[in-house]
Symmetry: C2
Subunit: 147 residues, 2 copies
Amino acid sequence: MQLALLEAKKAYDLGEVPIGAIITKGDEIVAASYNRREIDKNALAHAEILAIDEACRKLGGWRLVGCTMYVTLEPCLMCAGAIINSRIGRLVYGSFDPKAGAVSSLYNVLGDNRLNHQVDVVHGVLSNEASLLLKQFFRDLRTKKQT
Amino acid sequence: MQLALLEAKKAYDLGEVPIGAIITKGDEIVAASYNRREIDKNALAHAEILAIDEACRKLGGWRLVGCTMYVTLEPCLMCAGAIINSRIGRLVYGSFDPKAGAVSSLYNVLGDNRLNHQVDVVHGVLSNEASLLLKQFFRDLRTKKQT
């Protein structure tokens, strides 16, 4: 999760909402990415989607069985759906997202037994650090708008 | 939707689950795509995701305001979430997906007022054609497995 936070800081430095994601398989890091929605001008460019894209390319298949995703913020519907579709086995995330979180806050889609894949979830890992970074980003944004 | 069906047929011919998607803005088609999960070896390569990616590139921004998506099958959680995130205004789809549909069947995420964007939905357009194509695909697949 320390590495996911470093990815989030890269987003912060580029003026993007600071969210970072890492995918591991065993001891190996197979993908590392951060939110790039504004730079890429693309609604899909969340940290989790970019990480899944990178992991599929690296591992040469669409099934990321045995992989764990670490992400600094609770995934939205799109990203939680992508985690299910890619068969990631485990998700570790930092802060809750009360406005759009689809894993604990608004929905619990990763535990939905009607779907053909469920994901083990751990939350709250380095959540203070992830949350502080987001708060600082939005504070800076308001200050910039006022000046 | 006729064009979305033609896209689905391209997927069929390539041995992919036949699902096609089109995005329009006014009278213009801004994206056309089909499911390529096996060929691309990528869990993200659903017809809707590829269409949103193409539309963002073509229109030069992540907000697809004023756009309509036509897709032959009810979107899953990932794709429904991507439709919300890209601010698509209207979704027209063909068949229900009772196993994974996130718009009517298992969830109604596009009508969720807790989220920051809602989408107008029309369903059942050319649903028999879309559904027949899918049935034929899975029948072929079973026959191939038996021989």
